[in-house]
């Protein structure tokens, strides 16, 4: 090892000597330094502009992804979730009301299943190649026919007034509430997480691009001082123009970035208000409604009242879905809509207690009528409408904010490129004019 080291050691010196020769002959003159400064600045601005353009473009793309693909998928999954829970509630109600008003609720159930199947297919294409999401979608897709099969058997038996129909209905509902809906919830959480990541990415502070911009500005300032010292000219029009271009870019960038990030944050708030609070609230309400009907259908099985109470707690209890929705609501209108839903939930709970009371008094027919047609049915419809109004409002607010966030960024990539070109040209031109004086 030692001999080898001795052999290598002298080698660096010659290259330094070459450097020194070049430096002495070419660099160390005013025009030489001007050329170096020109080159460094043009390259620096190109780099800063490139990084900025890349960052902006990525930001625009991510925001576009949110608006164009992630959020629609989120919406599709929400639709799927709701239509499944709605099918469960509708079919139990239908079972209970069979013979009272024939086929009154057949169409909504069919629509729900149709919507669910369509949403699953749509989600499959929207999800692209995300394996975890694809697996969940495949699982739910394979369970849906099993669920509808049980429902059809329940309905066929109910048409004959056969008691075994109630068992099929309870099994179908158990499959829905204990397996399919939790899997759909997982799918929705997965989407919410992806969406959250995208928002984070789109709204983050672009430190690297900012650093390059500030470095370019510093470089331009240094160049002007240098040019002043060497040539005793106070202003170099090219350099001033370049500085103005970079400063403009920086300002535009900051203002648009901050404004866009703010709109994004608001959009995220609205989106999460739906996905984390209002959509779960809709599911809880529908599950409770299904249990209410099921309880009246299948009397020989153990009481489901504890499950009903639990659903209502998840909906309107402390730290329930509606509590969360109220925290997410950013404006008066949003808060007022959630408040309406809270009152509607209270109204439904009271109406359900009335059904229980009737049933407890042995007034089964009155209890069924209250659950299917009158008090509880109307209270539930009010709750459903209140929740849907809150969802629609938040969704509208989301659309406005995400469009605003996109609008703020719209001209930024092309603007960044133009400003970069302007600054580069101006620097090159400014130095060239000085250099020409040395010819």
């Amino acid at each position: 090892m030692p001999p080898r080291q001795q052999a290598v050691e002298p080698s660096p010196t010659p290259s330094f000597q070459v450097f020194a020769r070049i430096r002495r002959s070419d660099w160390d003159t005013t025009p030489g330094w001007l050329r170096v400064a020109q080159l460094l600045l043009v390259l620096g601005i190109l780099l800063a502009g490139g990084v900025a353009a890349y960052d902006t473009n990525a930001r625009v793309n991510t925001t576009g992804d949110i608006a164009g693909s992630l959020e629609p998928l989120n919406g599709t999954v929400s639709t799927l979730y709701r239509s499944l829970a709605d099918a469960d509630a509708t079919v139990a109600k239908e079972y209970l009301s069979a013979g009272m008003q024939p086929n009154e609720t057949l169409i909504p159930y069919g629509d729900d299943v149709h919507t669910a199947a369509t949403s699953l297919a749509l989600a499959g294409t929207q999800a692209g190649a995300e394996p975890a999401t694809a697996k969940l979608i495949a699982d739910i897709t394979s369970q849906l026919p099993e669920y509808t099969g049980l429902v059809e058997r329940a309905r066929a038996n109910n048409r004959q007034n056969f008691a075994v129909g109630a068992s099929y209905l309870r099994s179908a509902s158990a499959l829905m509430q204990n397996t399919i809906l939790p899997e759909t919830a997982k799918l929705q959480q997965r989407q919410a997480a992806r969406l959250g990541d995208a928002y984070q990415q789109a709204g983050s502070v672009p430190f690297v691009a900012l650093a390059f911009c500030l470095l370019s500005l510093a470089g331009l300032f240094w160049a002007q001082v240098f040019v002043f010292r060497r040539t005793h000219r106070v202003f170099n029009v090219g350099l001033v123009l370049a500085s103005v271009a970079v400063l403009t870019g920086l300002l535009w960038w900051t203002v648009a970035g901050v404004a866009s990030a703010r709109s994004l944050t608001r959009a995220l708030g609205h989106s999460r208000s739906v996905s984390d609070a209002l959509a779960p609230a809709q599911i809880d309400a529908l599950n409770a409604r299904a249990l209410e009907s099921l309880e009246l259908v299948d009397r020989d099985a153990p009481s489901l009242e504890a499950y009903f109470d639990n659903r209502m707690r998840l909906l309107a209890g402390n730290n329930g879905a509606l509590d969360t929705a109220e925290r997410f609501a950013t404006d008066q209108k949003g808060k007022a809509l959630v408040q309406t839903a809270v009152e509607a939930a209270r109204g439904y709970a009271t109406a359900h207690a009335g059904v229980e009371q009737l049933d407890g008094d042995g007034k089964y027919l009155e209890a069924v009528d209250a659950a299917v047609h009158t008090t509880a049915a109307m209270a539930f419809n009010r709750l459903g409408a209140a929740l849907q109004a809150a969802v629609d409002y938040e969704h509208g607010a989301f659309t406005t904010d995400i469009e605003r966030a996109q609008g703020r960024l719209d001209d930024l990539p092309i603007g960044t490129v133009v400003l970069t070109l302007v600054a580069m040209t101006a620097v090159a031109w400014g130095f060239q004019r000085r250099l020409e004086e040395y010819r």
Binding site: G99, Q143, E146, R153, N157, Q160, N161, F162, A163, V164, A166, S167, Y168, R170, S171, A174, L175, N178, T179, D298, R299, D300, A301, P302, S303, D359, G360, D361, G362, K363, Y364, L365, V368
Partner: protein
């Protein structure tokens, strides 16, 4: 599909177990295990005296003329008799197309109301989950329960029973295309019964060693049979007849392998009501209402047997 079904079933089963654990855990406790205490008013329950119910005293009072201070007078004052029933076990109890409770058990309840009020319509039917059939009588939520309840010593610890109003027996229901001929041919096969029922206990004790599957209700068992998840359903022949009516491709096979004497479930604190009910049961056997009810609901079981002979104690 099978695992998911098993999941759904186990959820149901869990619900049953939780509910059962609250009230009827002592149902599985043998009577001999009773803690020693002050001498009971009635002699210890055994196979010989399990069916002996309190003897009716004197002739039945006329409807609307209940003895002063009696439980029946209290019920008469209220205006209706509250009866716990099941509603998914035709032909014993189910709802007709107008949602009115009907069936062999329901007839008993209506006759009891008729004896108190002179009006068989003065009865409030309180549908009960199977697991709550005895706890609701104990808590006083219902005056009495007519719900295919078999009289057993362990249950006598918790509630009182009327004299026997029907003698059912456990058999098995199988797919009519299958080769099963009865409980003896079902060794190692999955046979379903309701959780907490005497049927399940008898399955567990069966000599052929079938694999018992416990579900929340009897009709769950019929569903599993239709879905091919079990090989047979086993419960009282009365209920099996109702299942066969819901699925013509099934058959009730083999001999009865248990005796299921049905009694009206009554609170231990109302012995006067027990005596009154027994008087009504005896009267409806004597005047042919029992036979008429059998002909209407249980005819598919075969020609009417002799009505049960009541056994009494004083």
């Amino acid at each position: 599909m099978s695992t998911r079904f098993a999941l759904a079933c186990s959820v149901l089963a869990a619900v049953v177990l939780v509910a059962a654990g609250q009230g009827s855990a002592s149902a599985v406790r043998p009577a001999v295990g009773r803690a020693p205490g002050p001498a009971p008013a009635t002699p210890a329950c055994n196979q010989q005296n399990v069916l002996a119910s309190l003897r009716p005293q004197g002739p039945l009072p006329d409807p609307g003329q209940m003895p002063l201070g009696s439980t029946m007078a209290r019920i008469a004052k209220r205006g209706s008799l509250i009866v716990g029933v099941l509603q998914d076990i035709p032909p014993l109890a189910s709802r007709d197309l107008n949602r009115q409770p009907v069936g062999f058990d329901i007839d008993v309840a209506r006759d009891l109301a008729k004896a108190i009020f002179g009006d068989p319509g003065r009865v409030v039917f309180q549908p009960l989950p199977e697991v709550d059939r005895f706890t609701t009588v104990r808590s006083g939520q219902v005056d009495l329960t007519v719900a295919a309840a078999s009289i057993t010593c362990p249950l006598r610890d918790q509630v009182d029973f009327s004299a026997v109003y029907y003698e059912a027996g456990q058999r098995v229901l199988v797919d009519s295309d299958s080769d099963f001929t009865g409980i003896d041919s079902l060794g190692g096969k999955r046979v379903c019964a309701a959780q907490g029922s005497t049927s399940l206990t008898h399955l567990q004790a069966a000599a052929s060693k079938p694999v018992p599957v416990g579900m929340a209700t009897e009709t769950d068992c019929l569903m599993l049979l239709q879905l091919g998840k079990v090989d047979a359903v086993s419960t009282d022949d009365t209920i099996l007849a109702g299942m066969k009516a819901q699925d013509l491709r099934t058959a009730v096979v083999g001999p009865q392998f248990s005796e299921e004497p049905y009694g009206v479930v009554i609170n231990k604190n109302t012995p006067d009501l027990v005596r009154f009910v027994n008087a009504v049961l005896a009267a409806r056997i004597a005047d042919g209402r029992w036979l008429a009810s059998y002909q209407h609901w249980l005819k598919p079981l075969g020609p009417a047997p002799a009505p049960p002979t009541p056994q009494y104690q004083d």
